[in-house]
Each structure stands twice: as C-alpha cells, then as structure tokens.
C-alpha cells in the first residue's frame, strides 16, 4: 500500500528571515538577502559578498540545546534553529518523536584555520604539528564530523527510528526530502524530520569556491550580483542557512488534525556522469531527474504547473537547466512559470533544495509564485517565463523543484496542492 505524504511543519533560518512567514513575505516582495560579508574580514578576497543570517545569537542555543554548547560550526547552529522551528510549527506530539525518521543534508566540513595557524607558523611546525595540536586539548578540534547536527537533533529529541546524513552537495536538501518521502510512502515510518543546513561563509570554503570561478565578483552591488537566467549573469553568490520540514503520512497528519502545507507527489534523482566541474551542457542528467520525478508522481509533463529552478546564476547552469526543462516537459515548459529563488537567497549549497521545496510548498499553499529578481537582460538561450518583474498569482496544482549538485548529482521533487 502506498501512503500519501504531506508537509505539516516548516522551519527556516535564512538571510531573508528566521520564520517561514518572514521569509515568504520577503521572497514575494523580491527582497535580496545578499550583502557584504561581515562574518570575517573578506576584504582581500575576490568575492566579498554573501547571504548571511543576521541576528543569530549562538548564546541562546545552549539553553535549548545543551548538547551544542561547545559547537562552533555555524551550520550546526543554523540547523538547530530551523529544525526546532519546524517541529514547533508542526505541533507534532512529543510521543511521535521516537518513531520519526531523521534526514539531514550537509555539504562540506568546516575547518577552523584560526586554531591551527599559530601552530603551523611556529618553528618546527611540520615535525611537531600533531603533538602541538593534541597538547592544545579540546578547543582545537580540526574536524567536526558531518553528522554532528544529526547526532545532536537525534539525541535531543529522541529521534531513534533511523538517522541519515546525506552529503550530496547541492542536491542534498532535495534528496533528503525525496528519500524520506519514499520511506513514508512505503510505510517504513509515519513521521520524519527532514532538512538541510550549510554555511560556506568562512575563509576556506569561500576561498575554495572562489578558485573555481563560479562565484559572482560583483562586490559593489551585492543584491544585484546573482542574476539567474539574465543575459549578463556572471556567477552565483554563496549564502548560509538551514531549512527543515516535518513530513507525515496523510493518515497520521489527519489523525492528529495537523495543518498541511502541501503534498509530496514524486521524486527523481540522476547523475550527469559528465564532469565534476561543469553540468552536462544539454541538460541530459537534469532532464532525467525531472522526468523521473514526474513519472514517480504518476503525472505527465502536462500536469506540471510551475518549476522552482535550481537557477544558480552561473552561465553554464542556467542554459543547461533551461534545455533540461524543455526536454523533460516538452511544450509545457513554455507555458508555465519558472522561478529562481537564488536570485534573492543566494546559493545555500546543501540547504537550497530543502529551502526551495518549502518555497514551492508555499506557492501551492498561498497561490503565489515568487519572482526571479535581477532579470533584466534577456538571454536568447534562456527563453522560458522566469517570473521577472514581480511575483505572480498562481492557481496551479503542482510545482517541480530542481536541485543539481557539484559533481553531477541531480534531484527533483514534485509537490502538489493538498486536496482530500
């Protein structure tokens, strides 16, 4: 028996708001969350802009999460904040926690260079490095395992029905929703806390991505730097944030009278098998992911009413994605809105798929499609309706949400307006 699966809670911690309502209001209004980086001195970096979460006070967290008292990795703070909000929003009874799956998406580890630099720069560093690091004791932990947030959330809330940490880069946020959807649909569990977190606004991550030359260097106009599908786009903009949802089988949600944002209808994933540096130029892998998601939902391309695009603002992604949408949806591609949230949110890497799934759910829940801002110059190779110029009313019943990762991992979700 296949169960229907729905979103019953959502929590966000983003540059554009720390509640779904605030985030959604800003997204519809076309307000950018991108600004100059203040988390560290980025003045000598080629990229000095990003989407930072403001007013996140980590001092508050240990009160709620004593287990996180010693954590310094921002993505853990962001994830705790968003996950707690999602659970609160869902009003899920505490008794259900022990039977809930936990899926968390993350991307790369945070290295605290400030801890090791004094050691490395000391005389005889190469010979004594390990000894000196170990002698420093616990404050100088070089690596935090990527499942640390999963562990804290699982232990804190008693989520002991299976914990998964997915590291599929920019596809992680969509994959965790897709994988938990499949497990709820087949009856493995009835409830899941699912989401992703990331913070790449630190020297090593920002520097590393800068070297790949995929980031916009338009530092003087941060809010205009990310221009998905625009003819003058130069690259994407990194951001930090976390997004979590509570997912339930419909029976479980209705049994407790839960509010339902949207229904998850289908999921597909694929691999480009092309290059780690570039998307497959014709969008073959991305189209496959979309087609699988549509088929998994039991729909046809004609049933898709909107696309929430991966839309990074890099020259190569946006052309490949446009081609992929056309391949997957055929003539329908020209008839429906295609929106790119990253024009305002920036690219939250692992988080982006979960965040955009929530935005897609909100489109279905509120009847609005957010705009793609900064789209003023047409690109002849990007010729779909990208919702330029302001949000649109939306009476559609389905949204296809895309996430494509570095290395060629693709994931697509089909969400539907909830009807009995």
């Amino acid at each position: 028996m296949k169960h229907r699966v729905v979103f019953t809670g959502a929590g966000l911690c983003t540059p554009m708001g720390r509640s779904v309502e605030e985030f959604w209001r800003n997204l519809l209004a076309g307000r950018s969350g991108i600004g100059r980086i203040s988390l560290f001195d980025a003045s000598s970096f080629p990229v000095r802009i990003g989407g930072e979460v403001k007013h996140l006070n980590p001092e508050e967290l240990p009160g709620t999460f004593p287990e996180a008292g010693s954590e310094r990795d921002r993505k853990i703070w962001l994830g705790l904040d968003a996950a707690a909000s999602a659970l609160a929003d869902s009003r899920l009874p505490y008794d259900d926690y022990q039977n809930a799956l936990l899926f968390v998406g993350v991307s790369l580890e945070t290295f605290f260079l400030e801890d090791v630099t004094p050691i490395v720069s000391a005389p005889n560093a190469a010979r004594d490095f390990a000894r000196q690091v170990l002698n420093q004791g616990s404050p100088c932990r070089l690596q935090t395992p990527l499942d640390r947030l999963t562990q804290i959330l699982g232990d804190h809330y008693g989520l002991n029905y299976g914990r998964y940490t997915n590291c599929s880069a920019c596809a992680a946020g969509a994959q965790v929703i897709g994988e938990s959807f499949r497990r709820l649909r087949d009856g493995t569990a009835a409830v899941a806390l699912v989401g992703a977190t990331d913070s790449t606004l630190n020297p090593l991550a920002l520097g590393g991505f800068s070297l790949l030359q995929i980031l916009s260097t338009e530092n003087d106009q941060p809010e205009k730097a990310c221009r998905p599908f625009d003819g003058t786009r130069q690259g994407t903009v990194l951001a930090e944030g976390a997004a979590f949802v509570v997912m339930e089988t419909l029976e479980h949600a209705q049994g407790r009278g839960a509010r339902i944002y949207a229904e998850v209808l289908g999921y597909g994933s694929s691999l480009d098998a092309y290059r780690v540096t570039d998307p497959e130029p014709n969008g073959r892998g991305a189209a496959l992911s979309m087609a699988k998601a549509v088929a998994d939902a039991g729909l046809t391309p004609a049933d898709i009413d909107c696309v929430n695009a991966h839309g990074t603002g890099t020259p190569k992604n946006d052309i490949a994605e446009t081609r992929a949408i056309k391949q997957a949806l055929g003539a329908r591609a020209q008839a429906i809105p295609v929106t790119a949230n990253k024009s305002m949110t920036g690219h939250m890497i692992a988080t982006s798929g979960a965040l955009e799934a929530i935005a897609s759910a909100m489109s279905l829940h509120t009847g609005k499609v957010p705009p793609t801002i900064n789209l003023a110059t047409p690109d002849p190779q990007c010729d779909l309706d990208y919702v330029a110029g302001g949000c649109q009313d939306f009476a559609g019943r389905t949204v296809l949400s895309n996430s494509f990762g570095f290395g060629g991992q693709n994931a697509s979700l089909v969400l539907g307006r909830f009807d009995l």
Binding site: T117, S121, L142, F406
Partner: protein, 377 residues
C-alpha cells in the same frame, strides 16, 4: 526486513589486496595488514598503527589520467573498487542495463585532506604575530593552493567520480561518515531495486583514515581511547569496497554469477543513554533469524576493547554461535564508511564458498547500527 536481492559483483581495494577471494583467504589465515604509518610519525598518537593500501596505481582503473589530479585518495580508491565490482559482475553501463537504470549509493568518510596540501595555505595566511589573518589568506593563502582544492574537500566527490568514470546515471545518494552510513547505502540500493526505481545498483563506500589529519581527528574524538586505557584498540584503515546488486530475477535472466542473496537486514539507532550491547541484541533479534544454524559470522569487532566486549555480550545473551567467525577489521583496519560493504562482501564470499547462511554485523561508531543475513540464492 526481508529482501530478495543478490550480490553479483564484488570490488575491493583494501590493505589486504584487491582480489576478494585472496582477501578472504588472508583473513582466514590470520594475516594482518597493520603497521606503522608510512606517511607520518605516529608517536604523538595513542594508536601506533594503521592499515594502508600498498602499491596502489589509480591509472589501472581509469582512462583519463588528468582526472586523477582532481581526486583525493578516497576518490581514487572508490573509482578502482567500483570498476572492479562492475567488471566482476560483467555489468557494463549501456550493456545489460542502460546507464540511467543503474543506481549508485555510497558512503564517504570525513574529508580526506592530507595536511601537506593545506599547510602552504595556512602558512601563507599567518600574520606577523603568527595568528590567522583573513586578509593574508585572501591575498596570499589562496595563491598557495590548487584551485581544485574544493574537489578534495566535498564529500560527494568520490561517488561523482565513480559515476563519471563508469557512466552511471541512475538514482543516487551519498551518506556520511561512519560504518552505519555505509550500511545505509546498501539499504538504499536494496530499496531501489525492490521498488523498481533501479534495475541494478552499485553500493559501497570509501574511506582513508591513514593520514595525519585523520589520526588527529580520531584522537580528538576519543576513538583511540581504548589504546590509552588498554594498550589495544582500533586500527584505522583505508580502502574502498563496492557491491553490484540486482534482483534475483534480473540476475538469473542475464545468467549472472550470484555470490549470495541479501535475505534479511536490520537497522537500529543507538540513542543517547542506551547500552551498546542492548542495541546490538535488539538489532539481531529484529532479523528474526531462522532456526537453522548460522554457518558463519563476520564480526564487527575492530579491536576496540569495549566495542568488542559489547558485541561479545550481545551474542552471548542471544546464545548466538557460528562454527566459523572472522573479524576482518582486526586484521585490515577499520575502513569506516567502507566497512559495511566490506563486511557484507566477505559474507557473500563465505556463502559462496561454504553454502551456508552468514551473519554480517555492521556495527560501528556513530548512532546507526546494522546487520545483514546472506544466504545461497
């Protein structure tokens, strides 16, 4: 959970070699691959040894030599093991199965970044006072490293390289960073096959814990505590193991060699405050093992004194016995994210060799614990 999926290919690159039957034979004969690390001085650490893959030549397994410089060692090992598994199964994407019907589920460990690669960056970022200076990092540090550094830090890259080198385009997911996540990759493969999402699946993992940064992390996270307390403990290893999985019907239809059927599996989250031995008992009980005796067992024992005692207690309380028992981690090191695929692969070889049912314990660090039962198809 019951399953009807068979293993038709095994690819291993391990400290005891890359020929699966020979690896099993060496384990049964008690050969050890542990020794002092060759790349750094281990004297500051509680653990003196590791288990390294020797004489590894990545060019044997991939056609594009320039791709190798994009890869860290984890990725090189993963590509090699995946290639060997597919070759062993006689599965060539585009042959029996289209590339988009072959799934790839894998596990990777903590970022395998050798310190020597980031040392120049860190040194160039030190201010006059020796402290980290973000300004210097931006001006000089970034110039001191390869632009390809990110590809060596991103945890999904090893599997992406596998997909590129082998042209696998199907459903996929990557888990991290412990032994249990490697078992989750196998679980995901089983699910994808049984639900029809994929026709064939490559599942496994890769990990490298034989460099100085890994030793530092393991020491800092208390994974060498057993060495401090008892003078014995877990030995970190490196390697990659991949398995080719198919439904029995599909494997039979193409005349594939079937090592073993993955007939039952069980997962359990080890929550805070619970006893590990209790968790293992519940895990094995959930397998609902048949009355007939188990022919062999692949233990999870990695040399850590407490972990070994927990497993022994659990098996003892269940009165579980098997005439043949191997503990591969004690001889070839703990391969962490690759360990589950190794345990299951060795169990499959035992099934093929002896024709008896085998229990593979995939216990490890972190919260997720698993066990699999394999038998003759």
């Amino acid at each position: 959970m019951r399953a009807n999926v068979v293993i038709t290919g095994i690819g291993m690159v391990t400290p005891l070699g890359n020929n699966p039957p020979e690896v099993l034979r060496d384990i049964e004969r008690g050969r050890s691959a542990a020794g002092p690390p060759t790349g750094f001085d281990a004297t500051p650490f509680s653990c003196p040894n590791c288990a390294e893959v020797r004489d590894f030549q990545p060019l044997q397994y991939m056609s594009e030599s320039k791709m190798i410089r994009l890869m860290n060692r984890d990725a090189q090992l993963a590509v090699a093991a995946a290639h060997l598994a597919l070759a062993d199964a006689a599965v060539k994407p585009g042959g029996a199965y289209p590339p988009e019907a072959i799934a790839l589920f894998g596990a990777t460990g903590m970022a395998g970044l050798p310190l020597r690669e980031v040392m120049p960056l860190i040194k160039a970022s030190a201010g006059i006072d020796g402290e980290f200076d973000a300004g210097r990092f931006g001006r000089a540090g970034l110039r001191a490293v390869s632009p390809l550094l990110s590809f060596k830090i991103l945890s999904n890259m090893p599997l992406c390289f596998v997909s590129i080198c082998e042209n696998i385009q199907g459903p996929n997911s990557i888990y991290t960073p412990w032994e249990g996540q490697g078992a989750q990759a196998v679980e995901a493969a089983i699910r994808s096959l049984e639900s029809g999402v994929a026709q064939c699946a490559l599942a496994g993992g890769c990990d490298v814990k034989t460099h100085e940064l890994a030793f530092l992390s393991l020491e800092q996270h208390g994974l060498f505590a057993s060495w401090q307390q008892s003078g014995a403990g877990m030995v970190p290893g490196e390697g990659a193991v991949f398995l080719v999985l198919e439904t029995a019907d599909r494997a039979a239809a193409r005349g594939a060699r079937m090592y073993a059927q993955l007939s039952r599996f069980s997962f359990r989250t080890h929550g805070q405050g619970a006893g590990r031995a209790d968790t293992y008992v519940k895990l094995i009980e959930a397998l609902e093992l048949p009355r007939e005796a188990m022919g062999a067992m692949v233990k999870a024992d990695n040399g850590d004194v407490q972990a070994g005692e927990d497993e022994r207690q659990a098996l003892s309380s269940l009165r579980f016995t098997a005439p043949s028992v191997i503990s591969p981690k004690k001889q070839m090191g703990d391969l962490f994210a690759a360990a589950a695929a190794l345990q299951i692969g060795l169990a499959a070889l035992l099934v093929e060799k002896n024709g008896q049912r085998v229990l593979a314990n995939c216990f490890g660090h972190g919260s997720e614990q698993a066990a699999f039962v394999l038998e003759t198809p």
